[in-house]
Symmetry: C2
């Protein structure tokens, strides 16, 4: 085992940060370490937090992290949102609180700015989750900005997905996109100190009434990160959802989906690298050029031969 | 052999057009026909014509086509330039002349608008050249618009590349990009009826004087498509260049380069299709998900296994 893998499994923060930087930079060394840490993964609860901008997702994650720390759990936080306070792009007060949190040895915070090539989550997110999991984080909170494909793709990686809404952002329930409705394991109506929270909750409830075949009704939790209200109730609902996942065998199914998405991302990335690597391509096709020139083989059959193994 | 392949080899214009449309639309049927026609290719002279916009490339190609027709040769014309008169985007007088040319049974004209995914020549250009070659065209003239990567990539496909310049477009020789200088097999100073042609030719000559190691000095031909001057001289220079290619074994080398570029394009296209085919990717990775879940295999090693055959 590499020295780096050993230190990560021991939970060393600097080693975690170093491997994350390596995977983000496509460093060839990273692959061996990633291979070695995989058997040590699978213990963390992965919680996706998505929803509208200005919904207070970062403050909510901050309060959730504190609650899990009180239980003695180690917490990883990944912010895929350049405007998140975790990325340093926020008000001074928020930044100071985040900095204090990051001083806690039981908390590891990382922000990731890049997007995936398919417009969804960046492929290195899968790596970062594996790294934090192997490093012994009991809970991994992932904040995705609620635009585009990210909010839908978060279900590929999270065990539990929180969709965060706020009252008073127009008719908030009407504005929930169909995609968000489908990915929510728990609805969080945040900023419950604002007016209109009862109406938003009621609208969500009547929307849920319309959904048939509810094996499990999606719970709605009203929170106020500002007034620290509802956080404990949210922690309970997350635990109940995870118990439900395990009881219903959905947990294993979701994990399989995550590995499937991860493997597809790795393969896509490698193939893209290959497609743009003129030199490697030339070496690969070199075998067939003579035969094509001599009309013993045509270019399409040559491509079939070369690609045969993978595309069948 | 497919009916379509037989008709193409017999030179039937409607069948040529149909197969070109098939390859441009990625029709699955096209591949089998492309495989079957390959043994019938390799006879055509492939001439690339590139250079500045407004250089009169289309008129030059028109005159060259007429000259080759006088010799009894069959001529294919491919215009990769949406502003080309061959694409219908020109002055009425030009369009009428092009239409007359296209009525000639010994001439096949096709315009292609799309770009390749690497920013260079569209991948179906290789197919179109193969089709026209198999259909018995003795000469294939390819017009590329002189912007970006096209003008450089034309050498991947052409036996002889003409770089067309015009006098009076500022200091034309100074504005030749280094890339154009390197790809020219023959310089054509077109619109030789305009003033400044002697100066442009002289500038080119002194530029060529500076080039060392000239196994073959690049000839400069002054032409006037408008006054039909210099065309015969250009035909002679093209023939001399092709004789030189064969004598110096460069011909075989260029053909090999073309097949290499073609095969790389086919492989790239197939891999791109694969990368964006979520369903196929899921089937491909399905074999490994269980093992990854059980920690018997990590995602990176699984990717190694799946991609092993092609990326080594």
């Amino acid at each position: 085992m590499t020295d780096l893998a050993e230190k990560i499994i021991a939970g060393d923060h600097r080693s975690i940060a170093r491997l994350i930087t390596q995977v983000e930079n496509n460093a060839p060394d990273a692959v061996e370490t990633m291979k070695q840490i995989h058997p040590h993964t699978g213990q963390a609860s992965i919680i996706g937090v998505t929803g509208v901008m200005g919904g207070g997702k970062s403050s909510l994650i901050f309060e959730l992290a504190l609650a899990y720390r009180t239980e003695g759990k180690k917490v990883g936080i990944i912010a895929i949102d350049p405007t998140s306070p975790f990325s340093g792009g926020a008000l001074l007060g928020d930044r100071i609180r985040m900095t204090e949190l990051s001083m806690d040895e039981g908390v590891f915070i990382r922000s990731m700015g890049t997007r995936g090539m398919m417009g969804g989550l960046t492929s290195s997110l899968y790596d970062v989750v594996e790294i934090l999991d192997a490093a012994g984080m009991n809970v991994i909170l992932i904040e995705t900005v609620g635009v585009g494909q990210d909010e839908v793709d978060i279900v590929k990686i999270a065990d539990t997905t929180l969709v965060v809404l706020v009252p008073g952002l127009g008719d908030s329930v009407q504005t929930i996109k169909a995609g968000l409705m489908e990915i929510a394991d728990i609805f969080v109506v945040n900023k419950a100190d604002k007016t209109g929270v009862e109406q938003t909750v009621a609208e969500l409830e009547s929307m849920l009434d319309l959904v048939n075949n509810q094996e499990r009704r999606i719970p709605i939790v009203a929170t106020s990160a500002k007034e620290k209200k509802g956080i404990q109730q949210l922690v309970v609902q997350i635990a109940e959802h995870q118990a439900y996942l395990k009881k219903s065998q959905t947990f294993e199914k979701r994990r399989r989906q995550r590995y499937e998405a991860e493997l597809i991302e790795i393969i896509r990335k490698r193939l893209m690298d290959f497609i743009f690597d003129e030199k490697k391509l030339k070496t690969t096709v070199d075998c067939c050029i003579d035969q094509i020139s001599k009309k013993e083989l045509d270019p399409y059959s040559a491509a079939d031969q070369i690609l045969g193994k993978i595309l069948k």
